[in-house]
C-alpha cells in the first residue's frame, strides 16, 4: 500500500501546557473517507485541528502528499489543497449563498464559475437559494453551504468537523450521501462524527480515539463488526 495522501503522524500536543493528544496518528488515502469517532472529550476535534495546523504540536508531523506541512499555518494549508469545515460558525450568515461560495474561493485568481456549477450540481437546493442570505437557511442547508464553501478552493482533502451536528436523521442521511459523492470525485475526506454507527458505515477507514490516543484503527466495516468496539462505543 502506498503512503497515505494525508497523514498526521504520532501527533502529541494541546492548547496549553496540558497535552490532549498522545502519539495519535490519523491518515486518509486518496479519494477515501476516514472517520474519527470516540467518546466525548476523546480529542476527536483536537486531532482534526492538529492536522489542520490550528494547534501547536510538540511531537509528530503532518504530511500532505509526501510533503511535510507541520510548520504551515492553516491559511497556507488551504493554499496547499486542504479544505476545512468547522463545526460551528462555518458560514457567513449575513451573506447570500452565492457570496459564501465566492468567499470560499477568495484565494483563487482564475475563473471560479465552473467550480460553482459543480457545487450547485452536488447541492441542487443551494442553486435555488443562491440569492438568499445563508443565515436564513435550515440547519441541513447551512451545512451544505459550509461544505460547498470549502469545496470552492478545489481542495484535495476535505476535513469536516461533525458535519451532522444538530440536523435531523433524514437530513443526516442525505448529507452522508453527498459526502460519499464528494469522495467519488477523488477528494479525500477526513471527518469527526458523533453518529459513529452511520459514519463508520460509509467510512473506508475508521479511527476510534480514547483520551487522545488511538484505541482501534481499521476499516469502517471491520470496526462495526468488532464486538469490543460495538460494546464500548456503539452502544451494543
Amino acid at each position: 500500500m502506498s503512503d497515505p495522501f494525508l497523514i498526521g503522524e504520532a501527533m502529541t500536543g494541546g492548547y496549553g501546557a496540558v497535552d490532549i493528544l498522545h502519539d495519535c496518528t490519523i491518515a486518509v488515502e486518496k479519494g477515501q473517507i476516514a472517520v474519527i469517532v470516540g467518546p466525548n472529550g476523546a480529542g476527536k476535534s483536537t486531532a482534526m485541528k492538529a492536522v489542520f495546523g490550528m494547534l501547536n504540536l510538540r511531537g509528530g508531523r503532518v504530511l500532505l502528499d509526501g510533503e511535510d506541512i507541520t510548520k504551515l499555518s492553516p491559511q497556507a494549508r488551504v493554499r496547499k489543497g486542504m479544505g476545512f469545515v468547522p463545526q460551528t460558525s462555518n458560514i457567513f450568515t449575513s451573506m447570500t449563498v452565492e457570496e459564501n461560495l465566492e468567499m470560499g474561493a477568495f484565494i483563487r485568481e482564475d475563473d471560479i464559475r465552473g467550480t460553482m456549477e459543480q457545487v450547485y450540481e452536488l447541492f441542487p437546493i443551494l442553486k435555488d437559494k443562491r440569492y438568499q442570505a445563508a443565515g436564513e437557511l435550515s440547519g441541513g442547508q447551512r451545512q451544505q453551504v459550509a461544505v460547498g464553501r470549502a469545496l470552492m478552493t478545489q481542495p484535495k482533502v476535505l476535513m469536516l468537523d461533525e458535519p451532522t451536528a444538530g440536523v435531523s436523521p433524514i437530513v443526516m442521511d442525505e448529507l452522508f450521501d453527498r459526502i460519499i459523492e464528494v469522495a467519488r470525485t477523488g477528494i479525500s475526506i477526513l471527518m469527526v462524527e458523533q453518529n459513529a454507527r452511520q459514519a463508520l458505515d460509509i467510512a473506508d477507514k475508521g479511527y476510534v480515539l480514547v483520551q487522545g490516543a488511538n484505541r482501534f484503527t481499521d476499516t469502517g466495516q471491520a470496526l462495526l463488526a468488532d464486538p469490543e468496539v460495538r460494546r464500548s462505543f456503539l452502544g451494543g
Partner: protein, 334 residues
C-alpha cells in the same frame, strides 16, 4: 386653515433641515459602524477624525481661493475634498500602524481599544486645535441658494417660503452618491465582499484566505473618507468648530447603535431617525400649527417640546430606549 402654508413651513423648518442633518449623521455613522464591524471597537476618535479632515479641506479651500481656483456655483471645498480625504486617510493609517495594530495583534479586549481610541482622540483633537485653532471657521462659498425665499414666494404666491440652501442640496446629493457608491462597493466588488465576510465571521474569513491587514486598511480608508465628507458637509451647512465635532460623536454613535452596530443600512436609518427626532422635538411648532388652526385659536406659546440645547437628550433617549428593548439595534447588528 391654510394647509399649503403649513406644509411649506413644515418642509422648510423641519423636513429639509432634518434631511440635511440626517445625511450628515448617516455618513458619520457609516464610518463608525464600518470600523466597528471590522475592528470590533467603538472608535471614540471618529468625531475628531471628522474635525481633522474638515480642517484640511478648509486649509486647501483657502489655498485654492487664494490662487483664484473656484468651482463656480459650487463650494470650492468640494474641489479640496479629495485632498482632505487623502491626508486624513494617510494620518489614520499611520495611527493604525503606530497604535491600533499592536493591540489587534495581541487580540486585546475591545474596551482596551476604546480607551486607546480616546488617546488618539486627544492627539487628533490637539493637532486640529494647534493647526487651525479652536475658533469657528466658515468656508462655504459659491451660490448661496437653490431656491431663495423671495423666488419661492414670487413663484407660488404663498406667504411662507421654502428656502433650499445650496449647501443643503449638496449635502443630500453628496450623501446619496456616497451611500450608493459604498453599497455598490460592499455588495459587488471582491474587496467589498471580503470586508463583509470579515465582519460577519472573522475566523472563517481567515480560513478562506482573506488577508486581515488588507481588509483593515481598506476599512480605515473608507471610514476616513466618509468622516471627511460628513465633516465637510456639516461644516458647509453649518460651520466648523473642533469642539462641536467632538460633540457630534454622541448623535453619530447613537445613530450607529440605534441602527445596529456593524450594519451599514442600519447606520443610515439610524442617522435619519436621530436627526428627525432631534428636529421634531426641538422645533417650535407655533408657526405650523398657527396655519392649521382657526385664527383666534392661535397658540400663545412656542409649542416647543424641548429647548434646542437638549438635542443631546433626544439622541440619548432614543439610544437608551433602543438598547433596553432591542440591544442589537433596529436592524440586526452585533
Amino acid at each position: 386653515m391654510d394647509i399649503l402654508n403649513a406644509l411649506v413651513a413644515f418642509l422648510n423648518y423641519v423636513f429639509v433641515p432634518g434631511l440635511a442633518y440626517g445625511s450628515q449623521l448617516a455618513l458619520g455613522a457609516l464610518g463608525l459602524t464600518l470600523v466597528f464591524g471590522i475592528l470590533r471597537f467603538s472608535n471614540f476618535a471618529h468625531g475628531d477624525t471628522m474635525a481633522f479632515g474638515t480642517m484640511w479641506v478648509i486649509l486647501i479651500t483657502w489655498w485654492f481661493q487664494s490662487m483664484g481656483i473656484t468651482a463656480g456655483p459650487l463650494p470650492t471645498a468640494l474641489l479640496a475634498l479629495p485632498f482632505g480625504i487623502a491626508i486624513t486617510a494617510a494620518f489614520v493609517l499611520a495611527t493604525d500602524r503606530a497604535v491600533y495594530k499592536f493591540y489587534r495583534d495581541k487580540k486585546a479586549a475591545s474596551i482596551i481599544l476604546v480607551i486607546v481610541s480616546t488617546g488618539v482622540m486627544f492627539i487628533t483633537n490637539g493637532l486640529t486645535r494647534i493647526i487651525i485653532g479652536p475658533q469657528e471657521q466658515n468656508f462655504a462659498d459659491g451660490a448661496r441658494f437653490v431656491i431663495s425665499a423671495q423666488g419661492f414666494k414670487d413663484a407660488t404666491g404663498l406667504s411662507e417660503a421654502l428656502v433650499i440652501k445650496s449647501t443643503t442640496a449638496i449635502t443630500v446629493i453628496t450623501a446619496a452618491i456616497c451611500v450608493a457608491v459604498l453599497f455598490w462597493f460592499l455588495n459587488k466588488t471582491r474587496t467589498g465582499k471580503s470586508m463583509r465576510a470579515f465582519s460577519d465571521n472573522e475566523d472563517l474569513a481567515l480560513l478562506s484566505g482573506i488577508n486581515p491587514e488588507r481588509v483593515v486598511m481598506v476599512t480605515w480608508i473608507i471610514a476616513s473618507a466618509l468622516a471627511v465628507i460628513a465633516g465637510t458637509l456639516y461644516g458647509l451647512d453649518k460651520s466648523f468648530r473642533p469642539f462641536i465635532y467632538f460633540q457630534l460623536l454622541l448623535p453619530i454613535a447613537a445613530s450607529a447603535v440605534v441602527g445596529g452596530l456593524g450594519n451599514p443600512l442600519g447606520a443610515i436609518a439610524g442617522g435619519f431617525i436621530i436627526a428627525f427626532s432631534e428636529v421634531f422635538v426641538t422645533y417650535a411648532w407655533k408657526k405650523v400649527v398657527g396655519y392649521l388652526v382657526v385664527l383666534d385659536l392661535e397658540p400663545t406659546t412656542l409649542l416647543q417640546l424641548l429647548s434646542t440645547d437638549y438635542k443631546f437628550a433626544v439622541s440619548f433617549t432614543i439610544l437608551i430606549i433602543v438598547l433596553l428593548f432591542r440591544p442589537t439595534g433596529i436592524f440586526k447588528g452585533k
